[in-house]
Amino acid sequence: MTLTSPRPIAPADAVPAPAAEADEGTRTGIRPERDRRRAPRRSRSAAIALYILLGFVFAVFAVPIYWLFSSSLKPENEIYTFPLTWIPSSLEWGNFAEAWRSAPFGAFLRNSVITTVVGTVLEIGVALLSAYAFAFVRFRGKMLIFAVMVGSLMLPGHITLLVNYITVAGLGWLNTYQGLILPGIGSAFAMFLIYQQMRQVPGELVDAAKIDGAGHVRRMWNVVAPICQPMILTATLIVMIGKWNDFVWPLIVTSTADMRTLPIGLMFLRSQEGYDSWGPVMAGTVIVALPMLVVFFLAQRRIVGGIVSGALKG
């Protein structure tokens, strides 16, 4: 990167224009380091403007989420009023009981947990095995197979939908756990993440284990996997969130209420309750959304870090 030759004097800094400076900051958002150093140079009115903007951005995301949680706890007469009731006068847990009664949420929850946990374990399992094979096992032409597997990322979910339905029906797996889980365990994305981390593992460590007489299985389990643990954990979280949120496949492959997962059950609850019972429907939505919010708040750094580094390197 070359620049036009810098002039010897610095006219920009010599003529401070605080308001314009801050205005520029909102639009461009550059130079955080300098901003920190120069923080005092931001005028009072500019700082207030920035904080108002920040508050507005906060509201865009927080108000709908707050509305979801507060409505799930509002008594019915406070949902059906205008002007709106922003703060429930009492907490109405009955909405959750009502949601639980009008749709088999117990079954939905069980099915979601089973498909998410089993599906994630299987997907990460096959991803680990294949990533290890590509990183550490000698095989001629293995990168060709690698390309074929990663290339599957280009296949949109909707093109495989119909034939996978026919395949699963042919196997007699419609409306079963194996039908829900197995078509989703092939893993190009998680394999790719873990493979990239495995390539960073120092070869001497693996060789040392080999000289000690450790076979591939022990090398993978005792040497490689522990070193790659952070990336395995990140991949696990991302895969898990994807499975919990999965919608179209569970929708077509299940046909009875007792096999539905939570997101499908939520749609089911809506048709059951109609448009007129927002309290229980919001309670149902909280049941569907809360587990992922909890996971996200607990593992925020890891999840966001994994996604962001994937994007910036990608």
Binding site: L3, R31, F58, P64, L155, L162, L251, V288
Partner: protein, 291 residues
């Protein structure tokens, strides 16, 4: 020894490879075959009909044409909205104001939620009588549109809900990318007298172009496949006013049992997304990197 390594290699990759081939590549190919047939799940076997499905689909005024238009509008506004909004919010977050950590967390949270939950939540927010939409429009002395039940607004409803879910994700990626920018270049440029809009236009934006390109392409691919928000919010309706390609594929196969048409629609969508992906792989390497 090598022979044993070979066996081991296959043993390790077979589970993953088999799943990818059986549930990824094979369906894609067989879907192409089905697109040249007529079938309703009930007849014993699909009947070959040649290009008939494609001819039907590309009639002027056909459902596919409407779905293509809807998808194009949906993708255009969702991606454009989240890119512009995300860049602005990312820039604001990069100012490192106090509390911006909290805002980063809450902005990213919707991206983690099931689309079905986002769809049902927005269904309530859009309620013209008891939703926040009424409160919002009342501030300006107007009535809330009937977002999900009139064909003039249904497409906007799914655009707004999808954009809300993706906006924070784009903002956080831009935020991280902005913090990553080389500082010395900006120091030099501002010594050079560049500031304000000029600095943004000629320095920040070009430096962010690889990330802008990446977010645009992945945004197009993700938006074109949006299904859960549409299913919960509008169900492709009213009528066909918010029917996009993924919804049409689902509807033709699993509601109307017109397998051939669904397979042909899926093939059209696949080809369109493939073009986008190929453009990405072709131009990604040509992008300007300053690092």
């Amino acid at each position: 020894m090598l022979m044993r390594e070979g066996l081991l290699f296959w043993a390790l990759i077979i589970p993953n490879l088999a799943a990818i081939v059986v549930f990824g590549y094979y369906p894609t190919l067989y879907n192409l075959v089905l697109s040249f047939t007529d079938w309703d799940f009930v007849q014993p076997a699909p009947v070959l009909v040649g290009l008939e499905n494609y001819v039907d689909l590309f009639q002027p005024g056909s459902l596919l044409m409407e779905a293509l238009t809807n998808t194009a509008l949906f993708v255009l506004f969702t991606v454009a909205g989240t890119m512009v909004g995300g860049l602005a919010i990312g820039g604001l977050l990069a100012q490192r104001l106090r509390f911006s950590g909290v805002v980063r967390t809450i902005a990213f949270a919707p991206h983690m939620l099931p689309g079905a939950a986002v769809g049902v939540l927005w269904l309530f927010l859009f309620d013209p009588n008891y939703g926040l939409s009424r409160w919002f429009f009342e501030m300006f002395g107007a009535d809330s549109p009937r977002w999900t039940t009139t064909s003039d607004f249904s497409l906007w409803a799914i655009i707004i809900a999808s954009a809300w879910q993706r906006l924070g994700f784009v903002a956080i990626i831009y935020y991280a990318a902005i913090l990553d920018l080389p500082k010395d270049i900006f120091e030099a440029a501002s010594l050079d007298g560049a500031r304000g809009w000029k600095l943004f236009r000629h320095m920040t934006l070009p430096l962010l172009s690889p990330i802008t390109f990446f977010l645009t392409v992945t945004g197009i691919i993700a938006a074109a496949q949006t299904f859960d928000i549409i299913a919960t919010l509008t169900g492709g309706g009213p009528g066909t006013s918010s029917t996009t390609l993924p919804w049409l594929i689902y509807d033709q196969a699993f509601v109307s049992f017109n397998i051939g048409n669904s397979a042909a629609t899926a093939t059209v969508m696949f080809v369109l997304l493939l073009v986008v992906t190929l453009v990405q792989t072709r131009y990604a390497s040509r992008q300007v990197h300053y690092s």
